[in-house]
């Protein structure tokens, strides 16, 4: 037997509400819960929802009276006075209005403002109350779930960050270990360049403080940036200001520095801009390791320099010769073997010259060098044969010139020092040879004291007044004439005698015409009264011209 329609209608409404309850409880979001509940109201009772006020969030749904700010404010004032069970409202032009409370057991969630053109029946009101209660419960669940999800998301994000940090740390530890392995194994700067290339896949270069490439690994890229020299000043300034790697014309570079002192530069060739965070981190770490390595090398160099300086200073001063010999032996030098003292000078940075000489004279032992008067004094061993010694000194000078920051270099070579007592003399001779440089040569070159000839005597003469008198005796008239007339007769007679009395050779050497030379020599004979055809006269004049050159060189 079928139930009466009214009963079935009531039962069906309950079934519908039950289905809606199932739907609300099925993990809906807050917005979905509110939307489903609001839209279900007209199906359960002849009512409509005019507003939803969320606790702490304000009005989320408004229609009718709640859509008008003035009446909404008045309704909200009534809601504030409503108890936890809700209650009637006064809404203009509505026969019936009710505030339903959205709440869970723990918290107040808001209000549902429902109106109707007639008062709902008790059954209809009951359906609405059940709907709102279920909606409140679902809303609380949704809110709790949202909080849980937010916390879970936060945890996931934190976990992801931690995982990423651990991975990055492991990666950097591996990079660090790899670089340190190279240094510990003694591979030094080459090892650092190799490790950096292998870690990044990019060509790596180590430059010293002067921009010279000291190590390189990996194929250098072709193209514009590869061939061009690094504009160091600007790029380095940027790197120093940044305190880390900077990109510059297809390269990434970082300075290895101790305080303000740049010890070297690490460069990655990156024409395609592939270097990412990992590559830059590896570069930075490599720069730190390179700094340690370069600082270590510089420490060794400083010690060597100090040691060498002390030994050389004592040797050339003739002080504590025995101690100097012992200290030299400690660094591998046997001063019992023949040595020579060298004196080098040149314009420019004395430190650059010192560094270049250290490299040029370096063998497997610490070099014995010291800075002095803007130049450098070095003590070097002499091999058993001396046939090619002048060639050796030229090669040494050339090697010095190849050093960074050295543009010119003159070298004076002292005589053999067979024992400690000979070093002051050898040093004196080297200094003499250096002073005679302009006299015997002209262009920068290595000058050996042993090859100075008559100049050796002239350098060593203690009675300089006697030499001056000799010069006046033979060249006085010409010197006076030159000074009075601004002529160059002393130089001419000297060059004529150096050229063996050849007019042509003298003219070529002085870039003069042959007739000019003949004229000058005629004037020289007239003024000086010397007959240069006489062998004794020629000899004395020759000695006098060399003596005046030596005097001038010594005076400098």
């Amino acid at each position: 037997m079928t139930a009466p329609p009214a009963l079935r209608e009531a039962l069906s409404s309950l079934q519908g509400l039950l289905a809606l309850t199932l739907l609300l409880g099925d993990g809906r979001s807050e917005d979905e819960v509110v939307q489903l509940a609001v839209t279900a109201v007209p199906a359960l009772a002849p009512c409509r929802v005019e507003g939803v006020l969320h606790a702490g969030l304000g009005w989320r749904t408004t229609a009718g009276a709640c859509a008008r700010p003035g009446s909404r404010a008045r309704i909200q004032a009534q809601l504030n006075r409503t108890g936890p069970g809700g209650g009637p409202l006064v809404v203009p032009e509505r026969a019936w209005a009710w505030a339903f409370v959205l709440r869970s057991r723990e918290e107040h969630l808001g209000h549902l403002v429902v109106t109707a053109d007639r008062t709902p029946s008790g059954a209809e009101l009951h359906l609405l109350q059940v709907l709102v209660a279920q909606a409140g419960s679902a809303l609380a669940s949704a809110r709790s779930r949202a909080r849980d999800q937010a916390e879970a998301a936060q945890l996931r994000a934190t976990n992801a960050m931690l995982t990423e940090a651990v991975t990055a740390l492991r990666r950097r530890t591996a990079v660090h270990d790899r670089l340190l392995d190279e240094v510990v194994s003694g591979a030094g700067r080459s090892g650092i360049a190799r490790a950096l290339h292998e870690l990044t896949g990019l060509a790596a270069t180590v430059e010293d403080a002067y921009g010279n490439v000291v190590a390189r690994s990996g194929p250098q890229p072709s193209g514009d940036s590869a061939g061009r020299p690094l504009p160091r000043d600007r790029a380095l300034r940027r790197a120093l200001a940044a305190g880390g790697p900077v990109r510059h014309r297809g390269r990434v570079l970082v300075a290895a520095r101790r305080d303000a002192q740049v010890l070297g530069v690490l460069v990655l060739a990156d024409p395609d801009g592939r270097a990412g965070e990992d590559e830059l981190a590896a570069l930075k770490l490599a720069a730190a390791v390179l700094t340690l390595e370069l600082a270590r090398l510089q420490g060794i160099a400083d010690t060597e320099l100090r040691l060498g300086r002390d030994v050389v200073a004592d040797l050339i001063a003739g002080a504590d010769a025995a101690g100097a010999v012992e200290r030299a032996r400690a660094v591998g030098h046997d001063l019992g073997r023949p040595h020579r003292v060298l004196v080098l000078d040149g314009p420019g940075d004395p430190a650059a010259l010192l560094g270049a000489v250290r490299q040029a004279v370096r063998d497997h032992r610490s070099p014995l060098v010291m800075p002095r008067d803007g130049g450098v004094v070095a003590v070097v061993a002499v091999g058993p044969g001396t046939a090619d010694e002048s060639g050796r000194w030229e090669r040494l000078r050339a090697a010095t010139l190849a050093g960074p920051g050295v543009r010119r270099c003159r070298l004076g070579v002292g005589g053999i020092a067979a024992g400690p007592a000979d070093y002051p003399r050898s040093h004196h001779e080297a200094a003499c040879a250096l002073r005679m440089h302009d006299v015997v040569g002209g262009e920068d070159r290595a000058v050996c004291y042993d090859e100075l000839g008559i100049y050796q005597l002239l350098c060593e003469v203690a009675d300089t007044d006697g030499v001056a008198r000799f010069i006046r005796r033979w060249l006085g008239a010409l010197i006076d004439y030159d000074e009075a007339r601004g002529t160059d007769l002393v130089t001419t007679v000297g060059r004529f005698l150096e050229c063996g009395g050849s007019y042509d050779a003298t003219a070529a050497a002085m870039a003069l015409g042959r007739s000019t030379v003949r004229y000058r020599l005629r004037r020289i004979r007239q003024i000086s009264g010397h007959d240069m055809a006489h062998p004794d006269t020629r000899f004395n004049l020759h000695v006098a011209t060399r003596a005046i050159a030596a005097q001038r060189a010594t005076a400098r």
Partner: protein, 196 residues
């Protein structure tokens, strides 16, 4: 005799209509995709009217060669019917389904399965009386043609009131794939009285 139409626990027979309620495309597809795939496996013609036919096609089992089924008209796939102004119209939907049922009959199809999404999109609201009339028509239409018809309602778009009304007027409603039974459901005329 009932058959498995891809809806486990929901026995259906040819000539029956079932409305399905859900919130969001994922819940819809949880019912719609197995229903369509079962039809393709069984070799039945399946007429589907959904808002995004291409998206549905992409979700079907690739082994079923859904594109080939479309080409061979085993799967007739298109959007829900709309009037010239672009608004969804239930009467146009009814016409569309009837045309497809007639075509299937002409083609000698024994069992036809139909799925129709009822979007009422565009914020035009739900006309409860029109909805009741469409559902009543769908019952008669399924019985007349001996086909299985599922109508789909997205409560996220249409609201919770549609669920209440559908439960009131149907012996069984699928809610998120779960059958909700109402032995006390109202006949169309009775529901019309309630609305009036």
């Amino acid at each position: 005799m009932s058959r498995d139409f891809g809806l486990p626990g929901v026995p259906l027979r040819p000539g029956e209509h079932l409305c399905t309620c859900y919130v969001g495309a994922a819940e819809r597809d949880a019912v719609l995709v197995p229903f369509v795939e079962a039809a393709l496996r069984d070799g039945d013609r399946c007429v589907v009217a959904v808002v995004e036919p291409a998206a549905l096609l992409a979700r079907l089992d690739p082994e079923l060669d859904a594109a080939g089924c479309v080409a061979g008209r085993q799967l007739v796939l298109g959007p829900p019917a709309a009037a010239r102004d672009g608004r969804f119209r239930l009467d146009r939907m009814a016409e569309l389904l009837q045309e497809e049922a007639d075509a299937a009959a002409r083609d000698g199809e024994e069992v036809v399965r139909m799925a129709a999404e009822v979007p009422w999109a565009g914020g035009h609201g739900v006309d409860r009386r029109e909805l009741a009339e469409f559902e009543s028509w769908a019952h008669r239409f399924a019985a007349l043609y001996g086909l299985v018809l599922l109508s789909f309602y997205d409560l996220g778009l249409l609201g919770g009131g549609v669920l209440v009304d559908l439960v009131r007027t149907h012996p069984t409603v699928l809610l998120g794939g779960v059958p909700v039974h109402n032995p006390h459901h109202l006949a169309p005329a009775e529901f019309a009285d309630v609305l009036s």
